[in-house]
Point group: D2
Chain length 249, copies 4
């Protein structure tokens, strides 16, 4: 069976400017996510891509055309992502490519584009314990997990999370400091799917957690671009002639 082709995108700016970040993620956040996913037997990494690697942020049409799932991490430079690349990623999602948006990617242009809302939230850096409760117990994304994932030290994200109500709500987080958050959310968009997954940060070593990685692998399987869809959404606005209605015999 063909492997799921995953492209791992990372803004990659923190890694350049901060020793603390470099220490946690010496090969970049993208490097760690790609290395972890590569261990899954049914996943292959098309490439890692970063904001500054070339004029297209590493996301040429050719790359996206062979990508089944794109993961997105960004934080300090959302505004530097070119609108033309956002348009291109959106087009691929509508045609079936899966999009996994991670942590501070909630405020990226592409996530806001796919949602239609502001995508704001509350946040606090206090190294709080987080417990992500599973509320969709048989969803493919939680396969192999227990009732919750626990992360000892995290940046808190709190409600109100300004998103459309998810088609499927999968995780709700509890934070030590008194907040809750819809931490795992799926939406259908065109022939594709979007999954927002909260865990992650540039200095907490979240992407080394085996349950977080398990969710990412499961999500790649669940969001993988379908081989063929009943409709092409590439040319969605179609004038049609009268469908002949067969006459009764």
């Amino acid at each position: 069976m063909a492997k799921i082709r995953v492209t791992v995108w990372n803004e990659g700016r923190h890694e350049k400017s901060s020793e603390a970040v470099k220490k946690v993620y010496p090969k970049g956040i993208h490097g760690q996510i790609a290395a972890a996913l590569k261990k899954e037997a049914d996943i292959e990494i098309v490439k890692t891509a970063t904001l500054d690697e070339d004029e297209e942020h590493g996301l040429s049409e050719a790359v996206l055309a062979k990508t089944d799932v794109l993961t997105w991490w960004g934080h300090m430079a959302h505004g530097d992502v070119k609108d033309a690349i956002v348009d291109r990623v959106q087009k691929h999602v509508l045609e079936g490519m899966g999009l996994i948006v991670l942590h501070s990617g909630h405020y990226s242009k592409i996530f806001r584009r796919m949602m239609g809302t502001g995508c704001g939230l509350k946040w606090r850096e206090a190294a709080e314990m987080e417990r992500l409760w599973v509320v969709s117990p048989s969803h493919p994304i939680v396969e192999g997990l227990g009732q919750y994932i626990e992360l000892p030290h995290t940046e808190m994200y709190g409600e109100l999370f300004d998103i459309p109500q998810p088609d499927e709500l999968i995780f709700i987080s509890w934070f030590e400091g008194g907040d809750v958050f819809r931490s795992g959310c799926c939406w259908n968009r065109g022939a594709g799917k979007v999954f927002y997954f909260r865990p992650g940060h540039e200095t907490y070593p979240i992407y080394y957690d085996k349950n977080v990685i398990k969710v990412l692998g499961n999500a790649c399987r669940f969001l993988a671009r379908p081989k063929k869809t009943a409709y092409s959404l590439a040319a969605p606005h179609v004038p049609v002639s009268l469908n002949p209605i067969p006459k009764k015999d």
Copy 2:
């Protein structure tokens, strides 16, 4: 990979009393559905089961325990299905077994139980042409279909269909006589899924149509009981002691 274990249930009364039905379905509606699904490489038929075959309508605990997906066709004898068997089927769905409800099964005890609504609809037998439009173009249930399925002669079912709004609406039917119908609908219930699929009738040869069979096969794949879920729903009401909150380091 283990095959999907499907049990095909049929009321089986029309076939006893009507020559017309026997002519279309000489081995019963269940016989035809089972024969068609058996041709799929990844599906095995646990058994066919009928209302009158034994005290448990062929649906013993042992049978359901090894069933990943149960298909349900009934029409003239919904009231003869024992409540204890309905309880048992519901329990298995909540624990993960898929349930495919076909055509006049909309009025079965088990479907009404899973929905919480009356599940009524309009109907008319006028051999109308039906076109089932796909409105969820990349859903696994429509894999391999075109933009619609066309059936030349069907019993009409029309709105209002008294169901909860589906979690995923997959087909909308157009009927020659001026009606529409939500013909393919998915709901999550506990760890399991329910799929209602409208096509079918005791005298129109609907279950010989290759696209209808394709949908049934796809639905078996989509609804198959997950291997393990994050929660057991068999004992859902659980007193718990205080979860220890790990202290900060």
Copy 3:
């Protein structure tokens, strides 16, 4: 404008057998809820009704026919509610009557009937602080609230709550002990609506909290039986003759 006609139902058994409960709710849980709602200018209380008051648990056809919203509190005697009364309440909901299910009512026959699932959950009596976060900021049910409701001492209810994903998720609770819960959930059923609202207990004085009462009043407004619906769901299964399609001019 006609007032919203509310019937407040309470099992009423704890109040008979426990001095502690009598002390908190001297006129019964129903008495307190009715007294609080009666203060709203646009609400009238049809009656309070209890399990043991008569053969029909106080819920005759005549009472329900003039009820726009029914509130339901039960806990220790769910099994004593007659199936015929459950059938009757369900019929009225499908025809448009609002149903507000409170706290331990999650395990009542009528709530399980409307949901189709087991409706189990986790629970713990440890007088924990609860914070109910609003996640649907402009919903009529939260009108007049701030970002959350805080209750200093509550019985904890935790996920997994075995319900169908709500049509509208309105509150998510945070509990001191590390749990979260979908505490305010709306579902459409037929022409009616069901609202589950978690707060409440027989000994914590929850129904004296002004924000809890505000939510109950808002919910009565939001769930009130519509004057006339486009369909009658009383006779839902309807054979229809061919709709004439007007000929083109």
Copy 4:
């Protein structure tokens, strides 16, 4: 009670260039919609606004600030709407303003912005009969309607309509030529709501139909900006300090 303040927006280009359109809508499509809504006792028209009336297409910040519901009709000049105005309208919707998108407005920048999808569809001009079936029988938007609305001659819109699955599906259309369409759809976005309503055209006299107008009036009531929401979404991305958790007594 304060009236609902409605602003009626129309591209207004067809009316300039086509005698046929001028004949059907001598005061513009906006003029007719505003005239019809003005007759409702609880609605006031803030203003009608058109693409070419000024630099801001008639939609200044001051106008939107006093608008509870904005209706949008556009067709031939979607690309001429300035992005800054689209940003402004989106901001107001997220803060609570209702947005009613009509007919060919499906392809407007603002609708695509709110949806995140391509919003394409099939279409055919063959003066077909359309029957809009109500599938949400007690929704406020269908108050006062029967089971369906019938329009004798319409432009056909057919599936696949490239939208996110609606939060509430209210109408499904049947067309003479064999197509169906999700013709009345509601989505929640931030503190606001979006309603797409299919009927309308520049030469068919759809906005003179009393049932179409009834739906528009109902929709204005349902989508009206709430007086106060539990959250301000104007500044959605908020760093917060640690919420103090009250200590147990």
